[in-house]
Symmetry: C2
Subunit: 305 residues, 2 copies
């Protein structure tokens, strides 16, 4: 049984057509038909149901589809592992939340770039949902996302713990005042932002009704809007510290541990861990609890209580 046959199978299954699969694979339809045929003969089952408008994958085909995906990933890992001699090099594609990037990653990234100049580090920011999807589909080697995460294919490791605080304009004197505002608007990053549901459930607990949230793409935009009294938001304490110190916004800590959110590093547990990633994680672990955290904690101490 040849993996190339399985790759062809996967393409046919995805397109529902041998013709389209053939053009994707830069070959002709007759070959695709032939290879599928030999594969079916070898396995002793038919993988596709042929009909006038293409093919549809049989249950047998459906069953092997996920295995084929694992197989191709594993084959890619073989290539990577063979070349990876323990000295970090090549590309390292990681993902991170906008907030994590801003608050935690900059020292880590500069340090990493300095220590391992041969690694081309590429960090994509996105929402937890999107990043998880990217990691699961191997578009990223790993990502920092907001916990909790529960997916059978993912390995996770807690790297930071953030304290989310409610951020409002300075007009708001206390939390009780929020209830008085008739059309309280919330401001969030974008669809899939994990802080958003926190905010929703928090307000639900407080009996506060909000309009549909506004979405912005940058932290600075969100803070500016909050400052201008357009709405309120939920962000990690450290992120808003500078704006708070500048007197632009008011900040309220959340009761108990409601505001705690863990930032996890996730990766596929069956994926090859490159030397570059190993080096990055080692650096990340050693940086946890470093200098930026402490100064920010202190600067916000006065808000507490």
């Amino acid at each position: 049984m040849d993996v190339s046959d399985l790759v062809i199978f996967e393409a046919v299954s995805r397109h529902g057509s041998m013709n389209r699969a053939a053009s994707e694979l830069n070959t002709v339809q007759s070959n695709v038909t032939a290879r599928i045929r030999t594969l079916e003969d070898e396995l002793g089952v038919s993988l596709f149901q042929r009909h006038a408008r293409g093919v549809s994958t049989t249950p047998a085909g459906q069953r092997i589809l996920p295995l084929v995906a694992r197989l191709t990933r594993l084959l890619a890992d073989v290539r990577t592992a063979a070349r990876d001699d323990g000295e970090p090099h090549g590309s390292l594609h990681l993902g991170s939340l906008e907030t994590t990037t801003a608050l935690r990653l900059s020292p880590l990234l500069t340090q990493f770039a300095r220590t391992y100049p041969q690694v081309r580090l590429i960090v994509t920011t996105g929402t937890t949902r999107r990043l998880l999807d990217d990691v699961i589909n191997c578009r990223l080697e790993g990502a920092f996302v907001a916990g909790p995460v529960n997916h059978p294919d993912l390995h996770q490791e807690t790297v930071f713990t953030e304290e989310l605080v409610l951020v409002t304009s300075r007009q708001i004197r206390d939390l009780a005042a929020l209830k008085e505002i008739a059309d309280l608007k919330t401001i969030v990053f974008q669809a899939g932002c994990s802080y958003r549901q926190r905010l929703d459930s928090l307000f639900a607990d407080m009996g506060i009704v909000t309009a549909r949230p506004l979405e912005f793409g940058s932290l600075e935009a969100i803070i500016s809007c909050v400052s201008a009294g357009i709405g309120v938001t939920l962000l990690p304490k450290g992120i808003v510290a500078p704006a708070w110190q500048a007197g632009r916004i008011a900040v309220y800590e959340l009761p108990h541990d409601e505001g705690r959110v863990e930032t996890l590093f996730v990766r596929r547990h069956d994926a090859f861990v490159s030397s570059a990633l190993t080096a990055f994680l080692q650096l990340a672990r050693s940086c946890v609890g470093g200098s930026p955290e402490i100064s920010l904690e202190l600067s916000l101490e006065r808000t507490a209580g």
Copy 2:
């Protein structure tokens, strides 16, 4: 990159010789050399160091070796999954401890054989250590072993909890009497038996020194020897109940939960779970706490305290 090349690579690596690999693979040496060459060219690294008495695997080769093993397993799973239409059939290779087989499995096995006559169920008995090894190397689809087990490749599930009891001849009046015996002998199954270390640590706790344990291959032999006063042993309560009821032996419960041992069902977590195995596990779960357990518990109640 062809998997057959990787299979050849694996054979060469295992034998340390292209010649021997060739004869194992029923081909000629020139082909093995050629295939390894193309593989090395494709990967861009050399996989073997050639010398006069064969070849040795380079670090790059060492790195991909485990991935190749996973690859071949996965390929086998593709075959299995394609044929497995949800109706349990084919062979099901399982492993079990001698004690678990005797105490728990017989009703389960007969029930399974009756319900799924198309499955050829093959149960191998062995020690925990050996069974784990067999499961890890895919010689068994799964096995019942004594907990705790901690291996990254294994999925585990607690199915039974056994209470181990100290078994002695009826001459022994109480546990204190054991200390008086100068050359107390212990009797165990065989090397790798997980109950053995329990027994050792138990006696160590009690300050009892024992000679090297005797090893026997069958439960009946062990019980007979204990009955004859040759030594003492540690076995699940349920196993020795009949002999105890027959007045052949004395039985002592262990303090606290020292005697508790969990029987786990383990399988490789990356292995395909066949319909036959799914059906077996479903049956096993529904049988837990069934009739044999209850009657045995009651019959031994008088020993307690």
